[in-house]
Symmetry: C2
Subunit: 257 residues, 2 copies
DNA sequence: GAGTGGTCTAGACCACGAA
DNA sequence: TCGTGGTCTAGACCACTCG
């Protein structure tokens, strides 16, 4: 049974590796070797303390490390269960800000041509996951560069669920995304965004509005904004393929650093 | 100065809120109020212990909580610095597996029509970020459903950097992605994927191969696979818009749970 | 040298889950 | 009821940073 001074002295002899990290490593090693197997229980803390001659604090630090790596889960009254033999890793695309979803829109302006309260018909109610009779605010317009004469960038349709559609700051020319107006006005935070990208040919009025030849290739991007389980806004944009492509990057991430 | 029993007793009176979480909350509140301001230092642990009548362990738990939320950074010999007045949050698209990038490909087969070692010309060397004279393995084919007579799903071109192109398991019909063959064969792990989605019209030979009318809309998806800084594989796929769209979902994530 | 956070010990009581 | 992890205390030595 080492005295405090002895334990500290032991650290002094090997100052470079904290004992809880040593233990974390060796636990990882043993788990990789299937002992205990995935689904099994780690020995209780007090048993590890006794077996290794370490305090509960140090043992807990090691176990918490493996928890933060996603390898273990703990439950009082049950024990510490192995859920993965290796650190859980995933690929993530990460944004500080939803604005990154449509970074192209920065420095552009949206000229609004239509604003109306609507009750979605058959086609639209699918897009808006809307119950019959629900009302939405529909805003349509063209996204331009900063100069009014710049080539149009996209045709945009936006739909805001009625409970969130009283937005005083809605102006003729929108310079900020509508979801930020919603977040400000109602004190909520968008928690989920779903996005779908489709290819399409740009014809007729759309081709004219975007000043591209009829039959040109384009992208249609549909974004649905959720606050918790509630769909609050849907936007669709049609972009000429010649002026737009969608880029993204995924990194391998390991939980817990 | 509460005795251990007193402290425990206090817990018993308010058993639902551990004191370190209380402290974490009140520290967050004070930081939001600018005290200390972002960039400033928190009081030292021992001062907090004394001021609050708590042990260092409990204080450390609270501070570590705010660290894991990205609000504080600590450095021995310096102190605890406020780096953000609110928990750092971001939106992430997360995948367990790169296969999720092309989930549509599951249950499909790739019929290989071309396999050749090439030296990229001007256009291709841009796509492959390739130095003059570098060699790549080029594989082209058509992705089908499981039945040989199923409609073609996509036209695929794949380029593998020469150092990673000796892949014994490359067969006439590929059922697994090439990057997994690379990972297995060379014991590496893809750490980054960049993806670009473009709209295009499908004409000529492509339209014929995909059995769509010339001039149809389509999507072109380019994926670049990196191992560390090294580009190891690039794939491009052309998908008829009528049979394909690209969906993704972003969640608001708060660091540290 | 003084003070910071990092590490560690030896105890203790509690809430929870299972037998 | 018993053992688990969750919480907490009082005290200690260390490595590091700074004046």
């Amino acid at each position: 049974m080492p005295e405090p001074t002895d334990a500290s002295h032991a650290d002094a002899l090997a100052p470079s590796t904290p004992r809880h990290l040593d233990l974390a490593r060796s636990l990882m090693q043993e788990i990789r070797n299937g002992h205990p197997p995935v689904g099994g229980l780690l020995p209780p803390e007090l048993e590890l303390c006794e077996r290794l001659g370490m305090s509960r604090y140090a043992v807990r630090q090691a176990v918490q490390k493996l928890c933060s790596l996603g390898m273990l889960t703990r439950q009082a009254g049950v024990g510490t269960r192995v859920v993965s033999a290796t650190p859980v890793s995933r690929y993530v695309q990460s944004m500080d800000d939803l604005g990154d979803l449509a970074r192209y829109a920065q420095g552009t302006r949206l000229a609004v041509s239509t604003r109306a309260r609507i009750t979605p018909g058959d086609d639209l109610s699918e897009l808006l996951r809307s119950a019959p009779g629900e009302k939405w605010l529909h805003i349509a317009g063209v996204r331009h560069g900063r100069e009014r004469k710049d080539e149009p960038i996209a045709l945009v349709d936006m739909y805001v669920a009625a409970p969130y559609s009283k937005l005083p700051k809605l102006a003729e020319e929108l310079t900020v995304p509508i979801y930020t107006l919603i977040e400000e006005q109602f004190g909520v935070k968008v928690t989920r965004v779903e996005q779908e990208i489709q290819g399409l040919t740009i014809d007729g009025d759309n081709a004219e509005a975007l000043r591209v030849p009829a039959g040109s290739a384009g992208l249609r991007i549909v974004r649905s904004y959720y606050v918790g389980p509630t769909l609050v806004e849907v936007t669709t944009g049609i972009h000429p393929a010649s002026r737009f492509s969608y880029r993204m990057s995924f990194q391998l991430a390991r939980a817990g650093g």
